[in-house]
Symmetry: C2
Subunit: 336 residues, 2 copies
C-alpha cells in the first residue's frame, strides 16, 4: 500500500518493530525460534511498511536464486508452432514451480549462439537448475551442466547413455495399445508414419510399432516424417504408393496424423471405413479433426510437473531415480 519510492529494507522493518535485523530475517524466513509476540510485531511492521525481501541480496549470501530455467529448442515452437507439447510442458512446469514458490526462466535454444548463452547462464549459477524439453539428438548441454554440479533434468530420454535424470512416457506400451486396437478391429495391413529418427520419441514409437507388429506376424510398412503436418501428408502418400491395400496406419504424432487424414481425404479413402488412423499425443485439436482422431494420450502437463519435482529434489541433494516413466492411454474416437 505504501507508495514510497524507496523500498523498505530489513533494517527499517527491524527499527519499526523494535528488534534486530536478524530477528526480522528469522520471522520472514519462517524460523520458529522467535517468541510469538515478537513475531506478531515483526509481521505487523512488514505489513505496514509493505516490505518485500530483496532477492538479489538474499541470493548473494545464500547462493540460491529460487529460479529454474526451462530450455526449449526453438524448433519446438517454430516448426511445430501449434505443437501441443510446448504449451503443455510450460503449463505443467509453471504450476509446479508456483507451488514451490520458484520462478521460471524460459530460454529458447535456437542458434549455436543461444546455446552458448544458455551454457554461460547456467554455469554462472544464475538459476538453481535447468530443465530441457524435447531436445534433439544427443545434446551435450545437459550432461555438461550435470558434470559441473548444476542440477539438470530432461523430458524425453536423452540419446546415448543418459547423463541426467529424465521423465518420459512409455512410448512402446502406448504404441502397443494402438496397434492392438487396430488388430482387434480386424485390420490386416497396418502401416506407420514414424517421427524423426534423431529424437527419442521418433525412435521409440517406431520400435514400438515394429515390436507390436512382429508379435502378430505382420509385415511392417514404414514412412518417416518429422512430426509436422506437412510431413505427415507426404508420408501418407508414400505409404499408399508402397501398399495401396493398407487398411490402417499408426501415426507417431497427431500433427502428422492430421496431415495423413488430409491426404487420405484427397485420394478418396474413407476414414475409418477404408483406412483406420491412430495418432499419438492427444493434442487439443485431435478432437476436432475430420473424423475425430483416435490417439494415444500422453500426460503432458504431468510431464512438466514431474520434471520440476525431480529437479527440485535433485537440487536439494536428495537421491532421485534415474528415470520416471509415465503411462499413456488410448483415447478412442472415430478415426480408428
Amino acid at each position: 500500500m505504501t507508495s514510497a519510492r524507496e523500498r523498505p529494507t530489513l533494517e527499517e522493518v527491524a527499527r519499526r518493530a523494535g528488534v534486530s535485523r536478524a530477528t526480522v530475517s528469522r520471522v520472514v524466513n519462517g524460523s520458529t525460534t522467535v517468541a510469538p509476540p515478537i513475531q506478531e510485531a515483526v509481521r505487523r511492521a512488514v505489513r505496514e511498511l509493505g516490505y518485500v525481501p530483496n532477492l538479489a541480496a538474499r541470493t548473494l549470501v545464500t547462493q540460491r536464486t529460487d529460479s529454474i530455467a526451462l530450455v526449449l529448442p526453438e524448433t519446438a515452437t517454430r516448426v511445430f508452432s501449434d505443437d501441443p507439447l510446448f504449451p503443455g510442458i510450460v503449463r505443467g512446469v509453471s504450476q509446479e514451480l508456483e507451488a514451490a514458490d520458484r520462478q521460471l526462466v524460459l530460454m529458447m535454444a535456437g542458434s549455436a549462439a543461444s546455446h552458448d548463452r544458455i551454457e554461460r547462464y547456467a554455469m554462472g549459477r544464475h538459476v538453481d537448475g535447468v530443465m530441457f524439453a524435447s531436445m534433439h539428438g544427443m545434446d551435450p548441454l545437459p550432461g555438461a551442466l550435470a558434470r559441473i554440479g548444476m542440477p539438470a533434468v530432461c523430458s524425453g530420454r536423452p540419446l546415448g547413455r543418459p547423463a541426467v535424470p529424465y521423465v518420459d512416457i512409455d512410448h512402446v506400451a502406448g504404441v502397443a495399445s494402438a496397434v492392438r486396437h487396430l488388430l482387434d478391429a480386424g485390420r490386416q495391413r497396418i502401416a506407420t508414419i514414424a517421427g524423426p529418427q534423431d529424437m527419442v520419441a521418433g525412435i521409440e514409437r517406431l520400435a514400438g510399432y515394429r515390436e507390436a507388429l512382429r508379435d502378430s506376424h505382420r509385415r511392417s510398412i514404414v514412412a518417416v516424417g518429422d512430426f509436422t503436418r506437412e510431413s505427415g501428408a507426404i508420408a501418407m502418400r508414400h505409404l499408399l504408393d508402397d501398399d495401396p491395400k493398407l487398411d490402417a496406419v499408426f501415426v507417431a504424432s497427431d500433427l502428422m496424423a492430421d496431415g495423413a487424414l488430409r491426404t487420405l481425404r484427397e485420394v478418396g479413402r474413407r476414414v475409418p471405413a477404408d483406412v483406420a488412423v491412430i495418432g499419438f499425443d492427444d493434442a487439443e485439436f485431435a478432437r476436432y479433426t475430420d473424423p475425430p482422431l483416435t490417439t494415444v494420450r500422453q500426460p503432458i502437463i504431468e510431464i512438466g510437473r514431474e520434471m520440476v519435482r525431480l529437479l527440485l529434489r535433485l537440487a536439494e541433494g536428495e537421491p532421485v531415480e534415474e528415470a520416471l516413466i509415465l503411462p499413456t492411454h488410448l483415447v478412442v474416437r472415430d478415426s480408428g
Copy 2:
C-alpha cells in the same frame, strides 16, 4: 573450461591480471577508459579463469535485474491450449530479449493467488519490467505497476483508458479487408462469429464487422463465441438458425472458424460454394483446414518483439508512444 567447484570472483581475476577489482569491472562492463594492453590482460584472465559475473551481486548495487516478466493469463494456455498466439508471443519476446541480453521470466496468471504473487514479485522489483499478454477485461495490475514506477506494457489495448503503453493490431482495418473481400466476391448475407465481449480483440473485431457492413448497407447477423473451436461450432449453428440463407461468415478467430467449418460440413453446406468463411489470426493450422482457411493475418511474432522494444525504452526512461498499432493483411486461401 575450468572445473573448479568455486566460481572465480572479480577479485581473483584482478589478482591474476595484476590490476584492481575496479579495473576488471570496467573491462567487463565495456568501459573504454582502460588502456588497451590492460584490457587485453584482463580479458585473458577472464578467459583463463572462466569468470562469469555474479548477477545477484551486480543487481544488488545497480538495482537492475536484467530480466523481464511476461505475464500470461492461464486461460491463454488452458482454454486455448492450441491457440497460436501464446507460442507466437513467447517466441517474439524471446528473440528480442535475447538480442538485448535480458532474461525472460514467465508467469502464469491463473488464480487470484497468482495475481497477488505477480504483484508482489513486480513490486519487489525483481524484474525491470512487466509485459502483459492478452489479458481479459480491465485488469488493474498493469496500471497498478505503472503507478509505482514499474515499467509495464500490454499486448492488446487495455479496456478503459489505457494506463500503460500497448501494442496491438488494427483490428478494424483487418476485419474491413475481410468483409470487403467477401463483398467483392458478391456475397450477400455476411454473418459474423464474434469473440468474447470482455476482450478487446472480441470487441474491436465485432465493431469492425459492424462498421464494414454498415458501409455496404447490409444487415448484420451476429453470434458470439469465446474464441474456442467448440464455441465456433455452436455459434455457426445459431447463425444458420437465424438466417439459413447466409452465404458468408467472418469469424473472429481461426480456432472458431475451424469449429464453424465443422458445423458447416455437418449440415452439408459446401465451403466456399455455399458459404464463404474467413477467419482471423492466421494460425499455423489455418493452412490445413478443409478447405484451407482464408484469414486475416496478424504479425504475432512482431507483436512480441515490439512489446519488448517498447518496454525496454520505457525502462530506459525514454519517451514512448502510447500505442503501437501493427498492420494486418488478408491471406486468401480456399474457404472464402
